[in-house]
């Protein structure tokens, strides 16, 4: 009996539980549902960036054979949007169009070609208005308001000062100020947006499958725009081909698809082209940052004063949160005692950005870490040392804006990259046109106050135990490739001491799985992980009770060894199957629930308006060292190697954590070296995977990953965020390496060879 051991699932590298479907091609993504006799929807999009809609004449188009129905903005007058305070976007434009490519009609037909032929004969009459494609243009005196209720085209202005900034600057020995421009970028997730909606006319019931990170928010918005009872809608998330934040709010494609299916009284699928996926956007906004940092001679920061202006596109989306994050999340990395922030989220005639990976803080952190690096070099302090001097006095630290830091692994991350990169020996000694740079980042593990809070627990997970001794995990947590289903299975298996093969998992089907807010703000491991542990503990208690009864023992004396339950060494014990049988006697199949709630002290501050936004139960930390070499003739930059350390609290699945860190580094590299959208009069000219320069395997550097475990006191088995923080750290580490290599510092992103060549040339002059 001594050989019987509980199975260990946590901290062990585990392949994804949905891996077999992915490598075999059996995984069905939203665009893979191709039922016979399914109709297709095709969206007609605005050819102009800003106009009043006079008329959309669909009469001729409707007569074409094969066209079933055409819907326009008349189909629903209910607006949608992720934030209850900023819902003024319609699935199909009404009255006005505000960006080029905004949906104005949807043709439902027997095939795409017929639908397109119909679109070609729809007559769109409009009165053009001036278009504003840059924040400054939209903010200029006399600019026409995109939305009447947003005068001056300001979606949100944030102002706060915490601590004495002027005094801090006066007290400093050295002040440095720079301005940075960070280009707008897109996620370019592999799977284009897609939805399929089935309307059951007899039952007046809607079933929708869509590529989403937030099926629950989709469910809410579907009910709203369709004006249907929530219970008459079933929202299912199939396999999802990545998200990185572009699917963290309801997308018009999903809502249009459902409206079209109801109008057509049948099943309609809409599969967006890559171009339409770019237009749907929800990436990272173009951000202009002006930042000033004051330091003492010894490198201690005395004050930070900065402004961030974001080109917010035509609708709010997550915009208010983004501009608040850009302020609130400056805290929690270093010991800052005086910060002034002014944030402006501007409405422009461009597609609306959203909550991209590293939401709100990536560009600001880039500016901060760049400036800190420049300060270090001017004060002749090692860039790593200046960071050390400004560490939080923590853990158990409260920031000026009342964020509670319960675990703080930045020092260990810095130590790791310093050692592994050979920083002390190699920095400054790599030779001409080669450089090393360091950069850091941090990120939340879920927002402690969700955007749409109704008071219920932050996460709920069900475990169904059945007569066959299998356990089915039922969770609304959307698996989008980040490994959340594997994580939940590991948590449940660990608590129950069972092998993971005992479990199946069913995710994100609103008629079967408990509600979950979705895959965003790195909330799932922390919140759903904890809820899964809670559910598994509740189930374990039931099994122990049943075993105790059967063994005629006190429950306190029963030991759960996973496959075996025993009440002392003399006892023969019971197999798991026997315990399950005992537990289900009289009750039949059982479903046990587990919850997670954030602690009120993590809900953030009332010190400034919107201050609660940055509150999280835990923050992850990252440090990176990047090595670059630059071709002096072409200014082509090669990233030679990356050392990436991240404090993830506890690596529940080291395999997934490594993959998340590698992917984050790589996506950060895209933003740093090549990615950026461009518009000509509102027409995006980078809407293909060739024109929008994502790095390929050719540009991919070797990445050495250092997993730092600080065991967060409230995280599931101590875990925190693992999928965003390292993206943030890459960008400044990279530009700091370029500055080290050349002696000139790029300030604007991306750092393309042409821009860099200009910097080199100007330096020569």
């Amino acid at each position: 009996m001594n050989e019987i051991k509980r199975n260990q699932s946590i901290g062990v590298p585990k392949p994804l539980v949905d891996g077999p479907e992915k490598v075999s091609g059996k995984a069905l993504y939203s665009g893979d549902f191709v039922p016979k006799n399914c109709l297709v929807g095709r969206i007609m999009r605005s050819p102009v960036a800003h106009a009043e809609i006079i008329n959309i004449d669909i009469i001729e188009a409707q007569k074409l054979p094969g066209v079933k129905v055409i819907i326009t903005g008349d189909e629903t007058d209910e607006p949608f949007g992720i934030l209850p305070i900023a819902r003024f976007e319609f699935p199909l434009a009404r009255d006005k169009v505000r960006y080029r490519g905004e949906p104005i009609a949807c043709v439902v037909a027997v095939d795409v070609e017929t639908a397109q032929a119909a679109i070609d004969v729809i007559k769109f009459e409009y009165k053009e208005l001036p278009g504003y494609f840059k924040s400054k243009e939209a903010m200029a005196e006399g600019a026409v308001n995109l939305h009447e209720h947003r005068p001056g085209n300001i979606e949100r202005e944030v102002d706060f000062e915490l601590g004495e900034v002027d005094a801090g600057l006066a007290d400093s020995d050295f002040i440095l100020e720079e301005t940075f421009n960070c280009a707008e970028i897109c996620q370019v997730q592999s799977e284009p947006h897609a939805a399929i909606a089935e309307f059951d006319v007899e039952r007046q019931f809607m079933t929708v499958r869509a590529s989403t990170q937030v099926p629950y928010y989709d469910h809410l918005m579907l009910a709203k725009v369709l004006k249907m009872d929530e219970s008459k809608i079933r929202m299912i998330k199939p396999f999802v081909g990545g998200g990185f934040g572009c699917r963290t709010e309801s997308l018009n494609i999903t809502l249009i698809c459902a409206l079209a299916a109801r109008a057509a009284r049948g099943t309609v699928r809409i599969v967006a082209s890559r171009e339409e996926t770019f237009i749907t956007h929800r990436g990272r906004p173009e951000t202009d940052i002006d930042m000033k940092i004051g330091v003492k001679k010894n490198g201690i920061i005395t004050a930070v004063d900065y402004t961030a202006i974001q080109r917010g596109g035509a609708y709010s989306g997550y915009g208010v949160v983004t501009i608040l994050y850009s302020g609130g999340l400056l805290f929690g990395m270093y010991d800052l005692q005086a910060v002034r922030y002014k944030g402006l989220r501007v409405l422009t005639n461009t597609p609306p950005p959203g909550a991209m990976r590293g939401h709100g803080i990536t560009d600001v952190r880039y500016a901060f870490e760049s400036l800190l690096d420049k300060i270090a070099s001017q004060l002749n302090i090692d860039p790593i040392e200046i960071r050390r001097k400004n560490y939080l006095k923590g853990p158990n630290y409260e920031t000026l804006n009342e964020m509670f830091i319960n675990s703080y692994g930045l020092p260990e991350c810095i130590d790791w990259v310093e050692k592994e990169s050979g920083w002390k020996k190699r920095k400054g000694k790599l030779g001409k046109f080669k450089g090393l740079g360091v950069g850091c980042g941090h990120y939340i593990s879920g927002a402690s106050k969700p955007v749409n809070w109704t008071g219920e627990p932050h996460a709920t997970v069900h475990l169904k135990l059945d007569w066959d001794s299998s356990i089915t995990i039922l969770t609304g947590a959307p698996e989008i490739g980040q490994g959340s289903s594997t994580m939940a299975t590991q948590c449940a298996a660990e608590v129950l001491g069972l092998d993971m093969s005992r479990f199946q998992i069913l995710t994100s089907d609103s008629k079967l799985t408990p509600k979950d807010n979705g895959a965003y703000s790195s909330r799932i491991t922390y919140m759903v992980g904890n809820a899964t542990i809670d559910a598994a503990k509740n189930l374990r208690n039931i099994l122990i009770e049943a075993a105790a009864k059967k063994l005629d023992a006190d429950p306190d004396d029963v030991e759960c060894l996973g496959e075996f339950y025993t009440a002392g060494s003399q006892d023969e014990g019971l197999t798991f199957e026997e315990v399950v049988k005992a537990a289900l006697e009289g009750t039949g199949t059982i479903t046990v629930s587990g919850n997670f709630d954030t602690l009120p002290e993590s809900w953030g501050t009332k010190k400034y308006r919107g201050g609660a936004i940055s509150g999280s139960m835990a923050y992850a930390y990252a440090a990176q060292v990047v090595e670059v070499s630059i071709d002096p003739d072409t200014a082509a930059i090669t990233v030679e190697k990356v050392w990436a350390a991240q404090d993830v609290g506890k690596a529940l699945n080291p395999l997934s954590v490594e993959g998340q860190i590698e992917g984050s580094v790589w996506m950060g590299m895209g933003q740093a070296i090549s990615e950026g959208t461009e518009y000509h009069e509102g027409l995006a000219i980078t809407n293909s995977m060739l024109d929008y320069r994502v790095p390929t395997i050719v540009e991919s550097p070797p990445i050495e990953v250092g997993i730092i475990e600080t065991i967060d006191p409230n995280g599931p088995f101590g875990a925190k965020e693992a999928g965003e923080t390292s993206l943030i750290a890459f960008i400044p580490a990279f530009t700091n390496a370029v500055a080290d290599a050349l002696g000139v510092r790029p300030l604007d992103l991306p750092v393309t060879p042409d821009k860099l060549m200009e910097l080199i040339e100007n330096k020569k002059e």
Binding site: P15, L16, G19, R274, E662, G663, M689, S700
Partner: protein, 156 residues
């Protein structure tokens, strides 16, 4: 027009409009949805299949060009007993996250390993340079291809 071809070892025929791409033929006529529509213009490689053993973007090939030719898709890679070593290693090493690029990536790698059983890291990178992955940073993909190559050399 009619086209007769072999898909995953089975003879198939289809009546299709001449502008039908191989990708559309596979997905919408034969419901082989393992080949993905990522961009539909040959940029991303998610639709990669093997035509007479050669990796092609099926979105750029007309179905009519397939007359009498042989197509292998991801659905044809595993036998009844087991995954192909590439599939097994991609799964075990966590080489895929969202999985959308996986079928194309695996098939590009398959062509490589059939022509070059002992590829260098650079050769692996070159072979899958036309397959974009946005999740992983490629590190674990290269590892899986190298490990699969090793496995196939040891147990041909």
């Amino acid at each position: 027009m009619d086209v007769e071809l072999i898909i995953n070892g089975e003879e198939k025929t289809a009546s299709i409009p001449p502008e039908t791409t191989l990708l559309k033929l596979l997905r919408e006529e034969f419901y082989l949805t393992g080949a993905k529509t990522g961009c539909d213009v040959g940029d991303c490689g998610a639709c990669t299949v093997l035509v007479d053993g050669e990796a092609v973007n099926s979105c750029l090939m007309l179905a009519g060009q397939l007359q009498g030719r042989s197509v292998e898709t991801i659905e044809g890679l595993a036998n009844l007993e087991d995954f192909h070593p590439l599939q097994k290693n991609f799964e075990d090493l966590g080489s895929l996250q969202c999985g959308f690029c996986g079928p194309g990536m695996i098939l590009s790698a398959k062509q490589l390993l059939e022509e070059n059983p002992e590829p260098t890291k650079q050769e692996i990178q070159d072979a899958i340079a036309g397959n974009l992955c946005r999740c992983t940073g490629y590190t674990k993909i290269v590892e899986a291809v190298a490990d699969a190559a090793k496995e196939m050399r040891e147990e041909p």
